[in-house]
Symmetry: C2
Subunit: 790 residues, 2 copies
């Protein structure tokens, strides 16, 4: 078995459409390579490092901080951009529909206006789906699985490109404006990661623009560190949770904890949430307040209510179990749906049509729900305090006549699309008259047609009795299936907010159902607390994140008191959920057959040794190798190796041994061939400049394919001296090393190739990521995945 890896990073996006990836969780794709997290310490590198003064290193360190600051600023700005554009777009949509209503009310226009509404929503979603499917399919979904893979050390093609960022941002705007059951928080993490990858390189390969700065950071080691900062900044901007962001990055990515790196990540997160806060505050003319730390915040819990008693802890655990069960159900349904999609919905036009259909159904189902339920509550006058002047005026005009239908469409349009300015919407939302009598409002509509973020907040904070049981129950049910159907569509969209919303709804239901008149009544009188726990349980049951999710939720709540119950709930949800099926992101990673390395080797894998795990035989090069041989090996598409041990001949008496003396990468060889660094040209190269590390950096990360390099027949006979360019000290292990030990070394150091040697340092095999990722813990002990044909 050979370790064949597809190097080609620059494939045509249309050809590499997901349909070509073997979507099967029992396979490992060979499409994905590893990142080179381990520095190749060749002579060029060491010379450069040795030339650099103490001051030089200090400057580098300062640049790193500057980059992290920039990452924070840009990520924050992108979050603002998304927030503001969604609001503006929704405003435009609203004005169009409003005009329509005013035109058609006379001719019995409710159905026409409804139709227009459905069409508009579908149109937004269509645009979002088209740009994703046509330009950058990798921008679909929340992007969290892809970033998880990247931070794990897998080079996911095109995931951190500028084009991906543009498509992602536009896509998420469209899908949120299109009224889908999605959040804009997940995609922020991906956006932050792309920003980081871009800023840290000081150039854009897509735009062919090189700023000639930060050249030192043009390698996988540094880039991956910055990308983890970017992901953290994204979380931080989305939830106003800088510490949660750092923990997210660490939990998902960093195997090696470095204090300075962590501190920089934290800095990026803080800057990101601060930028968002500042810009949105300025935008809303509240410069002195700085009160919007994230795209979502859970509002302030009343200080008197922020406490819990010992008796509630079993209840919380119980909620965690429910969340775990519901989460597992969600994941299972989505798993089947994804398999269905992979089989039958893989053509772009079908994907766009499905997305449009979901948008239309979402709108229609919501309408039906509101129509069928009649959860009318008396409109209290204290709500009107929240109205801004013009809305109050407008409402009072309309309210006098029994124009329920117009009211309905108006309010619906105004708030359903998720964006308008808070106070304005709050006023209208509070007054969903809909199919209710005058002076009443429709509670179902209030839950359904608010922006998801705001609905979550209402469920957390509204006083007891705001919603009736049936409303909450029906809402949970419908939104559960809608959200499940939506995740996995070819649109940019996150699953965090829908999960929170589902959980908050059933959590509140749970809280309301509790016996109200007990000896501990004053404590659990507040169903908002249970809504929060339900939200945590549902989200935990779906994504199965642990520490970072606890901290994100605590930070979004703005209060540390609920830390312990949230942790309990998340832990129970994870344990219960894991019993049935994996987390949503892991399911999608598996379905993409990504060679993902978990934290530890499977527990019962001690009986496996490097000898059984490694790929062999290995293609080795001599320290002084013929160009033709190298060309032939690199061009051989059957064995697409990426790393080649370099060997040297040593004679002991009569015995001649070939000993390992280094490791060279395909990308390095390609740069060498391109610059024709041949021994025979050495004397002519005296006039020419010497090959420098800069040449490798300039080619990074899109090294040209071997086919683009032309070597004449004469040149094929030349020799190449690899000693200067190879990594002279690759990590090695003996053949008897157990799998957990190999795994630990691989994971802790972020290796791409690990050379297996025998007693006398002769190369006998090579361990790569795929060799390790093949083993995993199944239901019946250790299982082995098969390698896909491509």
């Amino acid at each position: 078995r050979l370790s064949t890896v597809d190097l080609e990073e620059d494939i045509d996006p249309v050809r590499s459409r997901p349909k070509e990836i073997p979507h099967n969780e029992k396979l490992l794709s060979l499409k994905y390579e590893s990142l080179d997290y381990d520095n190749s310490e060749n002579q060029l590198f060491l010379e450069e490092e040795r030339r650099m003064s103490h001051m030089g290193f200090r400057c580098l360190e300062i640049s790193r901080w500057v980059i992290c600051g920039l990452i924070g600023v840009f990520t924050g700005l992108i979050a603002c951009f998304i927030d503001i554009v969604v609001e503006k777009l929704a405003g435009v949509k609203y004005s169009v529909v409003k005009k329509n209503i005013e035109m058609f009310t006379e001719v019995g226009g409710l159905s026409i206006s409804l139709l227009l509404w459905v069409v508009l929503n579908s149109a937004f979603v269509m645009v979002g789906a088209i740009i994703v499917t046509c330009f950058e399919p990798i921008a679909a979904g929340s992007g969290i699985p892809q970033i998880k893979c990247y931070l794990n050390g897998v080079k996911v093609p095109r995931v951190v490109r500028l084009k991906t960022l543009v498509v992602k941002v536009c896509g998420v705007i469209c899908s949120v404006a299109g009224g889908l059951a999605v959040g804009k928080e997940g995609p922020m993490i991906h956006s932050g990661a792309v920003v980081a990858a871009g800023v840290s390189q000081g150039r854009s390969t897509s735009l062919k623009k090189d700023f000639k700065i930060f050249e030192y950071f043009r390698r996988d080691t540094e880039k991956r560190d910055f990308v983890s900062a970017g992901a953290a900044a994204g979380v931080s901007a989305a939830f106003g949770a800088p510490v949660g962001g750092v923990l997210f990055s660490l939990e998902e990515g960093a195997s090696f904890w470095n204090q300075m790196l962590t501190w920089r990540i934290f800095f990026a997160s803080m800057i990101s949430t601060f930028t968002l806060n500042l810009v949105l505050s300025v935008y809303h003319n509240k410069t002195t307040e700085l009160s919007s730390p994230g795209l979502i915040n859970f509002g302030t819990f009343d200080l008197e209510c922020v406490q819990y008693s010992l008796y509630e802890i079993p209840l919380f655990i119980c909620m965690g179990a429910i969340g775990g069960l519901l989460g597992a159900l969600f994941n299972l349904l989505n798993y089947w749906l994804t398999i269905f999609r992979i089989r039958y919905v893989h053509r772009p036009c079908l994907q766009v049509m499905e997305a449009m259909m979901v948008a239309a159904v979402t709108a229609s189902v919501s309408f039906a729900m509101i129509y069928l339920s009649n959860d009318c509550k008396p409109l209290k006058m204290d709500n009107s305090e929240e109205y801004p002047l013009q809305v109050a005026q407008w409402l009072s005009e309309r309210w006098s006549g029994n124009s329920a239908a117009r009211q309905f469409v108006y309010s619906w349009v105004r708030v359903g699309q998720g964006g308008a300015s808070p106070s304005l919407v709050f006023g209208v939302v509070s007054a969903f008259q809909l199919f209710c009598a005058d002076g009443e409002y429709n509670a179902m509509a209030t839950t359904f047609f608010n922006t998801p973020e705001r609905s979550v907040r209402s469920l957390f904070h509204n006083p007891r009795g705001t919603y009736n049981l049936l409303t909450l129950g029906f809402f949970t049910l419908t939104y559960f299936f809608l959200a499940c159907w939506t995740y996995g569509l070819m649109v940019s969209a996150g699953v965090f907010i829908p999960s929170l919303l589902i959980g908050a709804a059933w959590g509140r239901l749970f809280g309301v159902l509790l016996p109200n008149k007990t000896f501990i009544k004053p404590i659990w009188a507040d169903p908002g607390k249970y809504a929060l726990m339900g939200a945590a349980a549902q989200l935990g049951g779906i994504v199965r994140m642990t520490l970072s999710l606890t901290v994100i939720l605590v930070e979004a709540t703005g209060n540390v008191t609920y830390g312990f119950p949230i942790m309990l709930v998340l832990m129970t949800a994870k344990i219960v959920g894991d019993y049935f099926i994996e987390g949503l992101y892991d399911i999608h990673i598996k379905l993409q057959s990504v060679p993902f390395l978990h934290w530890e080797a499977p527990a019962t894998s001690h009986w496996l040794t490097a000898r059984e795990v490694m790929s062999s035989p290995v293609t080795c090069f001599n320290q002084l190798e013929k160009v033709g041989t190298i060309m032939d090996f690199l061009s051989n598409t059957a064995t697409n190796h990426n790393g080649f041990p370099v060997i040297v001949q040593a004679t002991f008496g009569m015995t001649c041994l070939f000993l390992l003396c280094g490791l060279i990468l395909r990308s390095q060889l390609i740069v060498l061939l391109k610059h024709k660094v041949f021994v025979e040209r050495a004397h002519s190269r005296l006039h020419q400049r010497k090959l420098q590390l800069k040449d490798f950096r300039d080619a990074y990360p899109r090294f040209p394919p071997i086919q683009s390099i032309h070597v004449s027949q004469d040149e094929r006979e030349c020799m190449m001296d690899l000693s200067e360019f190879m990594n002279p000290t690759p990590y090695t292990v003996p053949q008897e090393t157990s799998l957990p030990r190999v795994f630990k070394l691989f994971r802790a150091l972020g290796l791409r190739h690990l050379v297996v040697v025998d007693d006398v340092n002769k190369v006998v095999g090579l361990v790569t990521r795929k060799d390790l990722a093949r083993y995993h813990m199944g239901k019946h002990g250790l299982e082995e995945l098969h390698l896909a044909q491509m």
Copy 2:
């Protein structure tokens, strides 16, 4: 140069008094060994692992969780114990003094009562100092430097013993009850670590009690993981900051981030703060509230005040710089003081006397300060609302007559000692009449004679105008020097709370000094915010912790809004402080000459290779080695090696090579010798049972010294077969490996020995912790530390 390491862990505590350690920051002590964080995967271990079923691993995992839960519970209980006993002791002290006052008031007793007070304080401190100096000197101080070293991988003798815990707990109670300028928070971290080390082993070597549980965890790898959980639980109990605790453990210790481990650490932290909360709530009869998450909490900031404007950010940065400067000054003074102490105050009786003197001076200086200042404020009636009934009654009785002197002593005694029940003390504190007229109270006394924890809270929350400028200034000055003098005494005591208090005092001063009537007045009207930032700056300037400290402070504040400014302040303080001198803990670690490994190799160390760094020649054993040879090597006190490469002979034609085939530890050899596992006895051992991993675990961690093993002259001629017990796959590097690469491998995997081999796998050297710790970044580039003579 040989890697000589002192193995002896069980030395007489009196003989190993600090005076014998070379206290010089230019030296590296050979006293400290490394922990074996890397598993020795020998045949016994692999057999055991391979025998274990999937279920077995699951049980182990569950045990780990149970242990973490127990660690949390016990750590929480210890925190409660300290809190409650301090309170009770203070009560006793108060009643004695009160009786005395009532007896002597007639005969002009103020001076006598004062004397009694000084004597009582000194007595408490004396008891604390005596138990520390006589029984367990390692229990002195906060214990954080020691725990940092342990988590870094250094085996600090006796640091995680039961005896140390007992002395620590009693010591901290005495020093807090003795009125020193210390906190009880730092020692909690050490206590948590000891609890973890004890619980996870399922036995106490000191008490000779073996519960026969958790035997699997009896090795350094597992123990260190649990100790990091214990340290986190300690932080969590001290500050009510579970996330901060996790980050503290990770920042200080874990080089390799493991998700499950982190989650367990978080669990322990949560349980710990929950236990503390629960027990204290029950103790104070408030079961339904659970409102004391930590030993200290910063109280609730008013929600309207919890905001800051953009214009304040430069102010915060400025405060950070001040904190950095003051912190550096503190550290520098303490550094000189520590050097002085090492030279002249190393005899136990001197140390006890110094501690008593500090206690007496602390009491007297405070008295003088109050006498000299006359910061009298009118006693407002709204204060009286806070009085509990009996105190109010008592006060009103006394207040009527002009019994200032009696008042003074009474109040002083009552509150100066740091413990009584909150509401009672608050009443009295608010009414420090002292040398003021009737109907007024003394603000200086209010700051000085409160418990430090409560003073911090008052400085954060009291309204503008509570303290005058002179009071704050004088208080800062006095407390600064007192705290500086106190840290490093031979008593158990932490520096967190004094630092916070100093910082809160000057921070509040800063806030009060700001021009009050500007266009942004409403925002910075509250000096409490500046007190918080000052506290952060001062603490950051002294200890130089970063991420974890931010989170601890945010959690203790209970509000995430101040996260960004706190981070800015801490970062500025660190940058400014680092310019002058290292952090306090690092200074003390350096003065102990501990071979501490930092996160990365010094930046300019790329020109060093393993060849230059390693120790050579290395003592190697043959796979089949004579017992006599082994005994001689182990007994040789000049070369106290701990790890021995095992070699095997291989013949290639005419050439004979000695190749590396494993690594064996001194501790393993000692167990083998003790059980007389000799080849010649193999056939008689058919009847005897085979040596198992259990035998190694039973001997852990106090392996007998080689002198205690007796081998007869006949047995010296026997052979030992090491192949079954050695680690057959030690990590190796070639000689040309650069220092940063060696360092990274060492740090990421927590190694103790790294074998350096040549091209054909022949052992040429051994790299140990000391070889790496020798290089550090000085003012003028790379510097090399010398190895001490012992």
